[in-house]
């Protein structure tokens, strides 16, 4: 019955309202077409040239040379490895801590709104601000070194956090996790509240403990949310530009570059436009493969 109505209506729409509907599509198509679709196609073309941006300069066609360089350049490999490291640590890190925070906040009665409000503060603070703050905290004479050596006495002397590759990347991931916990907490909190209470009551009657309830009821019920968060966070991890640009600027010697800071450097400091374009396509392909694989592995019931 309802489907018949739908069918009839959609036919009705098609006949009578096409022109008006197309008018509504125009602004979106124009803006996206000009500022996204066209640049993507242009970028694909550029990736086969040694592209010159200067007026009246000739850009020689180089075939797939740019792509070959992407796969053989050691710094590109390093930038990709740094991004992967950042993604592999921060994505599960902030999801697990965010889920724990959500479970705890969901389980308390008083002050739950206060906790939620304050845990969310780093999320709304802009990246430039938190990046500068962490640069200050992680400096040699900074707060973190002071706490680790003089207050808790966990390490004997100060660590030069931002002057070598792995300590610097560790600082970046700590920043990423710290800033992301609140976002995950809010999403998981809503997902937890959507799980029907009866499931837990039934499990209690069957004598399930809280750990069993978590693994057999909570986790399967929030599977779709986990997938959503994972994909959004991976896209976010590959989008990381500001914290690296502000905290280390890729130094020392590009050892802390991530894909976007390296691409930015290639474009505006080395002027290798074609190379940067090819690199963009490789990154987009990597993200797409990861996203599709996640969909296949987690398999949400409905999307």
């Amino acid at each position: 019955m309802t489907s018949a109505i739908f069918f009839r209506t959609s036919k009705y729409f098609r006949k009578k309202y096409n022109v008006r509907m197309l008018l509504m599509l125009v602004p979106g198509l124009v803006v996206m077409g000009m500022f996204t679709f066209y640049p993507i196609i242009k970028m694909f073309v550029m990736s086969f040239f040694d592209w010159k941006i200067g007026y009246n300069q000739v850009s020689p066609f180089v075939g797939i040379k740019n792509y070959l360089t992407v796969f053989s350049d050691p710094i590109t490999g390093m930038a990709l490895a740094n991004t992967m490291f950042y993604a592999v640590v921060t994505v599960p890190g902030q999801m697990i801590l965010g889920l724990i925070a959500a479970l705890l906040i969901n389980g308390i009665r008083k002050f739950s709104i206060t906790f939620r409000l304050l845990y969310y503060l780093p999320v709304i603070t802009s990246w430039v601000v938190v990046a500068l703050l962490f640069r200050y905290i992680f400096s040699n004479q900074g707060l973190l070194n002071y706490l680790l050596t003089d207050v808790f006495k966990w390490i004997p002397e100060h660590i030069g956090w931002l002057s070598t590759r792995w300590p610097a990347m560790t600082a970046m991931t700590l920043l990423g996790i710290w800033k992301g916990i609140g976002w995950n907490m809010v999403i998981f909190l809503a997902a937890l509240q959507a799980v029907p209470e009866e499931y837990y009551e039934a499990a209690s009657i069957d004598g399930a403990g809280s750990i069993q309830k978590f693994f057999h009821i909570t986790l399967p019920s929030i599977k779709g949310t986990i997938l959503f968060c994972t994909i959004m966070l991976i896209i976010g991890a590959f989008n990381t530009y500001t914290p690296i640009a502000v905290i280390t600027g890729g130094n020392p010697a590009h050892q802390t570059d991530v894909v976007l800071t390296w691409m930015y450097y290639q474009t505006f400091s080395s002027f290798k436009m074609g190379y940067a374009a090819a690199f963009s396509f490789v990154i987009a392909a990597v993200v797409a493969v990861i996203a599709v694989t996640l969909f296949k592995v987690i398999r949400p019931e409905r999307v």
Binding site: F13, L118, V128, V129, Y136, G142, E201, A245, M273
Partner: protein, 293 residues
Amino acid sequence: MLKKPGMKSIFVKNKRVLSSPMLIKYLLLLLGLTVMVTPMIYMITSSFRPNSLTFTYPPKIIPDVSELTVENYLYILFKQNFFRYMLNTLYVAGATTILAAIISSMLAYCISRFRFPGRNMLYGTIITIMLIPGLAMLVPQFELAVKFKLIDNLWGVILFYTAWVTPFSTFLIKGFIDNIPRELDESMYIDGGTVFTIYQKVIIPIASPAIAAVSIFNFLFAFEELGWAQTILRTDQVRTLSVAITQFFQAHNRTDWGYVFAMTNLSMIPVIILYLLLQKYFISGLTSGAIKG
């Protein structure tokens, strides 16, 4: 219905004011809270200390009252172009938010309700574009900006930000519109409504929570974006806060943390006000996309 003798005792046990599992929960949350807010408190207290003291070792999270000064704030507010930067940023974020809300809600409505040729391809493209970081298209977009004379022009960031946020906004709003019953549309058609009146009187009012949530995200994104803004906005008069703060920091490198933090704290004021006013939307809309997935 399922009342067993055991149920009652569980209920009574949880009702106690602070059972020990409850106490552990609060302690863990407080521990987490310390980690979450200490850096923020440190930033606020440092901004009220003289620049020379921000380098002394050991660092102080809670400074002595005698050290406190508002000099940093006065310097940023009256010796720097701060109000200009703030105005530029609010203009960019506001315009991006409004444009993106209009464009993406119309796109979402068309994709959700009509079967026009190329619809699936359009939606597929939108999903795919979400995977590509905006800044990855730097080179062709920069060329485009040069061609349209958008360098050093606030619209050079507004138009590109709008194009970057539209795919995700469309995706979320479409998910919401899909759940609005089509019978509502049909009753409007019967009353002589057109596509426009349905958009205006049915879609916009019902989908407003989703549009509000998406708008908050777009606002925050445009408010804080750095990479593209620093590429396009090169003169002082057009700088947004993110660019200005970064430039200011680089110019006062390793010296004036008091100034830097006064500037960052001031820059956060609009976002904090927005957050406190629209708290409900920050959370509800965020989850409308997530739970469905």
